[in-house]
Symmetry: C2
Subunit: 198 residues, 2 copies
């Protein structure tokens, strides 16, 4: 008994999605063909269109359909500040705070030697070229506060300082609304070391 070849191809292709193994891929293929053919056709078109149209902003490296993204084109932004984030989602989170009016650089990842992601995979040359354009005065590191994010921040910090740029990092401390009883000791220790005069 042979499975139709286009069904086999679809099941194989679904495994390119992160976190999808052979069983999930088969379940997805059956679901789409049995219950949601319109959704499958839509997804097929959306994939083809996105691969065709989405590229990286030549300044900040985020996803865009043009040469430059909307943020980089915004003349009202403070071009002396460059905030480095891991993903477009992180950038969006910072935008929502309305506290930052500078520009961004989106790494699209983090250093992660265990996953084989080194400085070369992160387009750090592009970041260095961007930060040393003569206009940027301060690099704000806003990578995550995970081990990989911290290592990435440390690496970029050293690289930027060697080029005479001012480098800062988002403050660590007790979250807004946090109760000390429920905050981990590492965070309290950091908040104590970084205490501010009021």
């Amino acid at each position: 008994m042979k499975t139709p070849s286009s069904l086999l191809l679809l099941t194989e292709a679904l495994r390119h999605l992160p976190g999808v193994g052979p069983k999930s891929a088969q379940r997805m293929a059956y679901h789409l063909l049995q219950h949601d053919r319109d959704g499958a056709a839509l997804l097929g078109r959306a994939l083809t269109q996105a691969v065709d149209q989405i590229r990286h902003c030549s300044l900040c490296n985020t996803f865009t359909e043009n040469d430059l993204c909307e943020v980089c084109l915004d003349a009202d932004r403070d071009a002396t500040l460059l905030c480095v984030v891991e993903t477009p989602t992180d950038q969006l989170m910072i935008e929502q705070t309305l506290t930052y009016k500078g520009l961004y650089f989106v790494l699209m990842g983090r250093l992660s030697p265990l996953d084989g992601i080194g400085p070369k995979d992160l387009q750090l040359e592009k970041l260095i070229a961007r930060a040393t354009d003569g206009v940027v005065a301060e690099v704000v590191l806003a990578t995550n506060f995970t081990n990989e994010g911290e290592a990435t921040a440390h690496y970029i910090s050293e690289t930027m300082k060697a080029r005479g740029l001012k480098v800062s990092r988002l403050a660590r401390g007790v979250p807004v609304g946090g109760e000390l009883e429920y905050v981990d000791a590492g965070t309290i220790a950091r908040a104590m070391l970084d205490r501010r005069a009021t």
Copy 2:
């Protein structure tokens, strides 16, 4: 800050996959565009092709690229036996046992009132037409032994008996290699009631 429209479309379209919510969809879209554009293009083509080419076998209802599937076209099979299964995977499992040489009907689902799947959604008219072709003499019910599978088997059994067909069900009992100590009481009870003379 706006996300590019083809990226938004892709993230929305990925949510048609079963079990994929907004966060997973975004993670999948970023992963494909950042790390696996070839995979994304391949998946796009595979989806379009599968939607275009895969249809249901007009006899047994399984997925096929032609009017009739390979199994239904096989003249060596015993056309008096019709085995009813829930999915093509279940059919494959039975084929691998090499103990059954009859034909199949694939429900592509099971009765599940809680999910709103009733007799009409399961193409049971197609099954009735298939089973009452004058050649089929025995319907072998091989739906799963879950609550929904048992209910589906019961419903089909009543429908088929009303039309004068012989109906059988896969035997329940202790699995091959099973140790009584680790088999649940319901299975042992069933095996005791269905005990066979040796």
